[in-house]
């Protein structure tokens, strides 16, 4: 079964996705990522108000087998977190691009988005 990749999102090489609306960036992990991590059993989200540099550890997701870091795709301040996935981590598996989103960040510098991959580039990256 091929992993779903959404056309309108941007992607990192570490399999995070971002959706940009103005300077607010919603962050999650891709379908490819959730499928390779396996059933999520624990999600640790950052505090609202926390600031992160691009590439910093932002979220921890854990499956039965292991813990994985989710890195901040761009620098910014956390404005909202999805507490629903802390209660039901499996939502990240079933709806990685929708109800399974993780964090909303107010971008420090929106132009950092240009360093990310588009859907076609990510598709190639994920196939490697």
């Amino acid at each position: 079964m091929e992993a779903e990749i959404k056309e309108n999102l941007k992607y990192t090489k570490d399999h995070e996705w971002v959706e940009v609306v103005g300077d607010i960036v919603t962050i999650g992990i891709t379908d490819y990522a959730q499928s390779s991590i396996g059933d999520l059993v624990y999600v640790e989200l950052p505090e609202v108000g926390g600031s992160f540099d691009q590439g910093a550890d932002l979220v921890i997701v854990e499956s039965c087998k292991a813990a994985s870091d989710v890195y901040a795709p761009i620098s910014g301040e956390v404005v909202e977190v999805n507490n629903a996935v802390v209660e039901s981590p499996g939502t990240v598996n079933t709806a990685p691009y929708a109800d399974g989103w993780l964090v909303k960040v107010k971008a420090a510098d929106v132009s950092q988005i240009d360093t990310l991959m588009n859907a076609a580039e990510y598709k190639e990256h994920a196939a490697e």
Partner: protein
Amino acid sequence: MRKTELYDEHVDLGGKMIEFAGYQMPIQYPEGIMKEHNWVRESAGLFDVSHMGQAILEGANAIEFLEEITPSSFSGTPNKKSKYTVFLNENGGIVDDLIVTKLADDKFFLVYNAGCKQKDETFVRKKLAESLTFRPLMDRALIALQGAASEIVLDKVLNLGEKGGFGSQEYMTLQEVQFEGGDLFVSRLGYTGEDGFEISIDGGSAAKLWKAILAHEEVKPIGLGARDSLRLEMGYPLYGHDLDDETNPMEAGLGWVVAKANKIKYENPKRRRVGVELIGKGIIRERVKIFAIDGSEIGVITSGGFSPTLQKTIAQGYVRTEFSALGTKVNVELRGKLLEAKICSYAFVKPRTKQG
């Protein structure tokens, strides 16, 4: 990397293959570890454990030899009875844990860990008396069928005819059964805490038996991921994680495998294997350090993870004996933070094997 006889079956079933002990093994199938785990607890699951070592020990004084290299007694053991035990080194440390089944006074069937195969075979050969032969069964596969539905499925797949069904086979016993003209060793045991069987079969017939069992809707294939979470819920130790050459059976809570006469050899253990329960959220895994409330380091987690049955984190590890009482409050260090935890029994879930 080596493949078991069932490699093609795993790939056909969509198994996610990883390296384990030098073999390509399925960590999970498309349904995932959680569903696989629950399926074994609810119905029955089929595991390829052909990577494990199987051998026949045969000859005069086999009993004496086993009593020399393990702490267990085999002289009073009835034929076809299986025992869980450990190989011990000169210092009383555990070389491996294994199942020994008595086929006759001078013939035993041994099943040991994949990761210890070379080590075990060298260990046994080094000590082997001239009257004995030790013959690894390189061409045999091993299939585990685990879960409450195992018995009815096996009754359908392996028709025992006049012998009746598998219902009369007791826990921790072996019976030899014919399948496709070959001899199977069918042992009623396993490492999931459920009723079930491990079937040793000629490698060439393994795929046929695997498919015949999977044809029953009660059974799904289960990968190594769920195998690990199933045994962790039971508090069963995993060699290389919860047991090693430096650990003796008393520390490991395996005093029950040590025959009375041998117990005296061990002084009171300075550390003990315990269960650890996290008070808050988080997942503690191997190598997480355990601290006393006063801040002193008292032990380490040797395996841990999420329990699909209990829907919470469970772990086992070793702490200094004075901190091993149930209910003792401790802290564990997770990513630089201290989290509250307490010592509990490592048997998190009650076994449902045929006789407790």
